[in-house]
């Protein structure tokens, strides 16, 4: 009896203490989330001022089966495939290089991680200048960049991917470096005495023990890639020929240019679902690998 009373008291105190954060979540996360889902059930009128019409899930199936959406999804996936693996390989390579007790290695670590402190806007402006057909890197190298890279339907998405890889490299480097630091030094020493070459030590010790970190970086990087907006908006505005029209940009143009909040809401739910799936995979797999060390 006593313990049940005490339990009830403790529970009510716990809920009371959780109340402030619950209130903030409700106001800024749960309410907008459900409201957005709800918006997707209404068709936005072609002219402002006309009443919205309830169409149930018709709009969901329409938008999600439209070629516009499927193309945007393809573009987004292509973008993720271009940015994530390359970014991780580069970040891991730099982290392995900088993971040594050498004089002055701190300078390199600072340089390698510095892009973390660079905003998307700054990165976009830097690369926008480099890609510029008149004052950019290519004319300076004597190469004729015509059509200009960012206007070239085949090169625009890879170009934005390069900006993104560069901009996220700092974060990947920091992630990989911290992952390397969790690998006990004596494993490398044991491997050295056991006759393993540096290459074998990398493949047999470093990579397997870093796999949870790499996996984390893949999932988080994919989520970032799916939410890329700034560099698209600043460099290509979804063009040329919608070749860089990634999901977030598609959502924003649906809302901004077409004033179609019903369509934008459906797209937002789609993007949310993809992110949710990626997050669930992440949680599941990481849970299974926790007992590692």
């Amino acid at each position: 009896m006593i313990s049940r009373q005490r339990r009830a008291r403790e529970m009510s105190l716990a809920y009371f203490l959780l109340l402030p954060s619950l209130a903030i979540f409700a106001l800024f996360v749960f309410y907008p989330f459900f409201k957005n889902f709800y918006l997707g059930l209404f068709r936005t009128p072609p002219f402002p001022g006309l009443p919205k019409t309830y169409v149930g899930f018709d709009q969901y199936s329409e938008v999600l089966s439209s070629s516009e959406f499927l193309n945007s999804l393809k573009t987004t996936i292509a973008f993720a495939i271009m940015t994530v693996p390359t970014g991780i390989v580069l970040g891991l390579g730099l982290a392995v290089l900088a993971h040594r007790q050498l004089r002055g290695v701190g300078i390199y670590r600072t340089i390698f991680s510095s892009t973390v402190a660079t905003s998307v806007a700054v990165a976009s402006v830097i690369f926008g200048t480099l890609f510029n057909p008149v004052v950019g890197l290519l004319p300076w190298l004597g190469i004729d960049p015509r059509p200009p890279i960012l206007d070239n339907p085949d090169l625009a998405l890879p170009a934005v991917a390069i900006v993104t890889i560069w901009q996220t490299l700092g974060l990947t480097f920091i992630l990989m470096s911290s992952g390397l630091q969790t690998i006990p030094e004596d494993l490398y020493e044991a491997a050295r005495v056991d006759g393993a070459t540096p290459t074998r030590r990398f493949w047999q010790v470093t990579l397997p023990l870093l796999s949870p970190t790499i996996f984390f970086a893949v999932v988080v990087g994919s989520i970032f890639a799916f939410q890329t907006f700034g560099q698209i908006d600043l460099l290509t505005q979804g063009g040329p020929l919608k070749r860089t029209n990634v999901l977030t940009y598609f959502i924003v143009t649906s809302l901004r240019q077409q004033n179609n909040d019903g369509k934008a809401a459906v797209l937002a739910v789609a993007l949310f679902s993809i992110t949710l799936v990626l997050t669930l995979i992440q949680v599941r797999v990481l849970e299974r690998r926790v007992h590692y060390a």
Binding site: D186, L187, E189, A190, R192, V193, D194, G195, V205, Y292
Partner: protein
Amino acid sequence: MGRVAFVGVTKRFDDVVAVDHLDLEIADQEFLVLLGPSGCGKSTALRMLAGLEDVSEGSIEIGFRGDMNNVEAKDRDLAMVFQSYALYPHMTVRRNIEFPLKSRHVPKAERDELVADAAQSLGLEALLDRKPAQLSGGQRQRVALARAIVRRPTAFLMDEPLSNLDAKLRVQTRAELIELQQRLSATFIYVTHDQVEAMTMGDRIAIMNEGRLQQVGPPQEVYDRPANVFVARFIGSPPMNTVAGEVVGDSIMVAGTAFPLPGPLAAAVRAAGCAAVVLGVRPEHLEIGADGPLPATVVVVESLGHERHVICRLDDGQMVIVRIQSDEAVPAAESTVRLSADPGQLHVFDAATELRIDA
């Protein structure tokens, strides 16, 4: 051939001298224990031998190959057991044991056979498909040993391999290691801070302190004839009593009592010509009796079951420990007792140099 030698080896970390001109030769098939308190340089010496640390000065010889300073760890043909065991956590026991063989491109059939042999000799057959996280501390230790013995290297290096085991398992594994070394007829270089391990396992003990080698010799010799005050106090449990004394004629005065020295030792002390000495006597060579010359006050009596340690304070405040059998009468705390020492078992050290004065 499993001969290993340190030739004038020095290791400096910035301003700190971790190992200072170490000269030590370990014979083929010898079990040498490097013993010393933490920070004495014993592990650094072992790591230099393994090639995990560079040598600042001097050279290391392995087998009949000369100077190994420019030979990488992987090419030194040694095996090492780490204090942490350093098992590869993502590999099964089998793959852990196999690792040194794979590194050296041993063919698969031979590899399987060698792994089976090593696993069998350490009783690991049933655990081959487990991962280290699923093993107990003792089992992990065996896997680390198996990974070392799966090859026949020039020498086996062991860095405090038993210190993470509980006391009971440590005693058992100690015996197994001795047996293993004899079965393999291999050279073992074994680092420990535990003098019981050193006494029980080593063919010879090399005692280090503050980077310097203090004494090398068979365990009994080191115990019976410690070369200096440090070794005298380090070897033995409870440690040797060392009290300050003064040379008066052929005797040594301690706390107002004269201890006559046996003839040859008295002559040696006279020849050494020092006035202040440190007199050493092991707790088992002190006796409590009514007619002992040295008065002392009992501070505390520790009972270990099979024996008792009587901790006494001399009149000048110096403390000594007396070991008595459990069936002897126990003196009451704060009571006054009279101690006598076996004159043949006295050790005399020069107080200035702390070196042993030998008859």
